[in-house]
Amino acid sequence: MAADSLLWRIGGGGMLVAALLKITVVPFGEWTLFDFEAGLVWFNAMDVLVWAFVWLVGWGGNSAHALVGGYRFLALAVAYELPLMFALIAPAIAAESLNVGTIVAAQSELWFIVWMPVAFVIYSVGVVAFSVWGPFGSSLGSDIAGGVAAELSGVDRLVFFAGRYGVLVAGAAFAVPLFLGGGSGAFLPEWSWSLLKTVLVLAAFVWIRRKIPLMRPEKFMEVGWMLLIPAGMLQDLLVAMVVVNR
């Protein structure tokens, strides 16, 4: 039984591609690379690609530890993805659009984070989780010899980890148009506000890395389904009621 290097390389390189494709729908000031009608769903579709890529890296290497890591990620993914979807719905309901630019425009008076804090927290959990980061890094855990990345070395390792950091950055960048008013701010031009906010969110994600203990996938699964999904649905309900009565 040989390693499946085709799938392995697709998985390793794919992370970076998914991260770049996510960034394309994020508006920076007046520029958006890909001003897509359903930009929000596009972002969601790209973060589902991460499921496939992480598992493929785990499978392709033909190593027990890497495969255990891949399974850990899928177990975690089932728990974080649905709450993340409910969190993404909230800004879309409030802006009555799936287009990211329209969502930014809808926040000209009040940033969405003010009245959708729960959705923002769930979204952040989702971003940290799909970046295999900090408390959700069990599939790269040292208890399984580096997990998914156990067999990666050289350029493969560089590209995989660049992709992983890229996914985290993309998640931070997407939080800005979604919840933090996009480029709105005083004095500075819009694009610089977008960048500044992205850096701040990213700094929070990096800071959180060692602050919260590792979540075990099977335990977090119940947290996701019993706490985060109902909380996300209540948030959506609240937003919908506000929008209907506006």
Binding site: D4, L7, I10, V41, A45, V48, W51, E218
Partner: protein, 189 residues
């Protein structure tokens, strides 16, 4: 439709069909599953070419997710570990092939012989918005019917695949204060 659109259409079509064939051709379970995922991504991109932004992206989203889960089921249930020794797990191969070819011939004949009406081209602006409004207004019944069917599916799926029911977890008289689970959950039940 521009030249680029035509080239993309044909490239995606060839990819979709070839990766569809690969599903039943390759020996590796992981490759078979992800070949199907590629086929779905190609069809999703086709839908994007046909101006159905939301449906195209949602097809990619759902199918990649589903194939990631499908791969786990493949490896879990294929038995006899075909990952280690490639084997043929088919019956009636020749008959199936004939049936598939005859079906394709019939469909192709129907497609080519039918005088399709020259319909007015679909709108390219605000398609997603129109879909949302159709779901919430004129075609709401479709979604109203789908939602109880979905709930029934969840319940049926859980009850079919359930390994340990409530009597296993809470005892025969359901009086155990804390569920007896092999793996405790994170909410502390």
């Amino acid at each position: 439709m521009t030249l680029i659109g035509d080239v993309m259409f044909w490239a995606l079509g060839v990819i979709a069909v070839l990766s569809g064939v690969a599903v039943f051709w390759v020996n590796s379970m992981a490759r078979a599953t992800y070949a199907l995922a590629i086929s779905f991504v190609a069809v999703g991109l086709h839908l994007l070419l046909l101006d159905q932004a939301y449906l195209g992206v949602i097809t990619i989203l759902m199918m990649v997710m589903e194939m990631a889960v499908m791969a786990v089921y493949m490896i879990m249930f294929m038995g006899m570990n075909p990952a280690l020794m490639p084997m043929s797990m088919v019956h009636d191969k020749r008959l199936s092939l004939v049936i598939a070819l005859v079906t394709f011939a019939l469909l192709a004949a129907g497609i080519l012989l039918t005088p399709w009406p020259a319909g007015s081209p679909a709108p390219t602006e605000g398609v997603t918005m129109a879909l949302g409004e159709a779901l919430m207004e004129s075609k709401m019944l479709a979604m109203i019917v789908l939602s109880p069917v979905m709930v029934a599916t969840i319940i049926a799926g859980v009850s079919l695949s359930l390994h340990r029911g409530r009597y296993d977890r809470y005892g025969d008289d359901l009086k155990r204060p804390k569920a007896d689970d092999p793996q405790p959950g994170g909410v502390g039940r």
